[in-house]
Symmetry: C2
Subunit: 295 residues, 2 copies
């Protein structure tokens, strides 16, 4: 039997429509337009595409976006200076620094310099620590992990009491999504590159989150029948038949795994569109919070 | 075959001797005496005992301790006020607020008010977030989780590549120790009260950490042969034969489990003494850091 495909495009469209309505109301009733500043350092084409897509998505729901581009030679101080300026601007409610940063820049230092109330990417270390705490008020959950959770919840998957296995322990995806699943009462296992015999672990997963950046790493034999599989990977593989010379595949072998799983997200069209929707929602919330009481 | 007993008293004595020598040198060479302020709110006898033991341990290695006791009626503002005073005092290098706090006080708010450089208990949310990040500089690792790691390392247990299962997800022990094991390349699973069929999970553990506060919860059938078992629990059980009317037992059924495990910590005499040694070490480090450059 073939798995239900969790359609990130359609679910994200629903979320974006909710956001658009809320942005319109915020403008009409209080004269506030949410604003997002995007900061891109260097000229990595994939990063440039991500930023462009995010800014386009802002425009579509009525959120202002302010694009900043620094050359790859920019120093850490240049970047911190820009962040200080953006932190002070009242029309910028959210600040997004596109990762990865060039290696001469300390990403943790930079992310820690974004004030918590404008950290719409949710990468501040304080956020990470609070994610695993039930009942804690996390200013902003990071977008990709939150996208995984929303896709699970909106597609009707139960989290509480289930066994979740997360492949990958990055602070961007693997670790925060593991903490968020834990806070929702899943029993969570985190696997990574040093995990021997990973298939033996993943075969116990009712919920499997793949976030390791290895194309089609998860094969059918690694998946428990009727598991729900969320594929965070976005990998380019050569494809001479494609005009661009490549195509995008996830960390999961979709064709194989959909024969085993109960539900699965495709790549593209799964976590990706939902991640952008979460960024929009965080930016909207940041604007609402920053103007609280000024109505 | 009976397990090796990991003797926390002896290992802690070694660590304390190291600390004592370092404190003596710090005094002789630079005239600095490390200082720890302990803050106890209310009159819970167990908490009072813990604080007394910590202060006695300070005295034994030459660390000054300053005891503060607030009545159970103290307000959160009273406590924040005291913390502000202690934060400013140059002779107080570390601040320890004994948990649990009375329910009318927001513990997270209070712990977040201890400046990071004096947070020798390592409970600040920033610390928690950084623990799972490989290579991150955590100002102070929380004492009990660090005690578990030190007992594993000093007793020769391998962590990297092994499967670790943590029972309990408190921000005081379970969650931070899980993150610390992850940062050391274990494959980590976190179980809790909502985990069904927990024995099935624990039987896969090469390293089993029990931190759930349920007397003798872990029985022999839950333990993989040759696992290393660290017992964080300290539970009072009635014991009419004991002059105090109770005795202390861990979360692990020691007698049963030692027949299965390769190594196991006893209660008392395992994690407890090591936890205090970690507090002393954090206080010494805090003093050294705060006087860096003033030599």
């Amino acid at each position: 039997m073939s798995a239900k495909v969790i359609d990130g495009v359609t679910i994200a469209a629903t979320v974006r429509a909710e956001i658009e309505a809320e942005v319109r109301r915020l403008k009409a009733e209080r004269g506030i337009t949410p604003g997002l500043a995007t900061v891109l350092v260097g000229d990595d084409p994939a990063s440039a595409t991500y930023v462009r897509n995010k800014r386009r998505a802002c425009a579509e729901v009525g959120i202002n976006s302010f694009g900043y581009e620094l050359p790859v030679t920019a120093t850490q101080d240049d970047l911190l200076c820009l962040l200080a300026e953006l932190s002070a601007r009242p029309d910028v409610h959210g600040i997004l620094v596109q990762l990865p940063l060039p290696s001469h820049i300390d990403a943790r230092r930079v992310l820690g310099a974004i004030p918590l109330h404008k950290d719409v990417d949710g990468f501040h270390p304080v956020n990470l620590g609070l994610l695993g705490v039930r009942g804690a008020q996390v200013p902003f959950a990071p977008c990709t992990p939150q996208a995984c959770i929303e896709l699970l919840e909106r597609s009707g998957a139960q989290i509480s009491g289930r066994r979740a296995v997360v492949l990958g322990r990055s602070t961007i995806v693997g670790l925060p999504v593991a903490l968020m699943l834990l806070a929702r009462d899943a029993t969570v296992t985190i696997c990574h590159s040093k995990t021997p015999n990973v298939a033996q672990v993943t075969r116990n997963a009712d919920i499997l989150i793949a976030a390791i950046g290895r194309p089609r790493f998860v094969t059918a034999d690694m998946v428990k029948p009727d598991a729900v599989v969320i594929d965070v990977g976005i990998n380019r593989v050569n494809d001479p038949g494609n005009p661009r010379g490549f195509r995008l595949v996830g960390d999961v072998d979709f064709d194989e795994v959909q024969e085993v799983a109960a539900a699965i997200t495709p790549v593209p069209g799964g976590v990706g569109p939902m991640t952008i929707a979460m960024l929009l929602r965080n930016t909207l919330r940041a604007a609402t919070n920053q103007h609280a009481g000024s109505a």
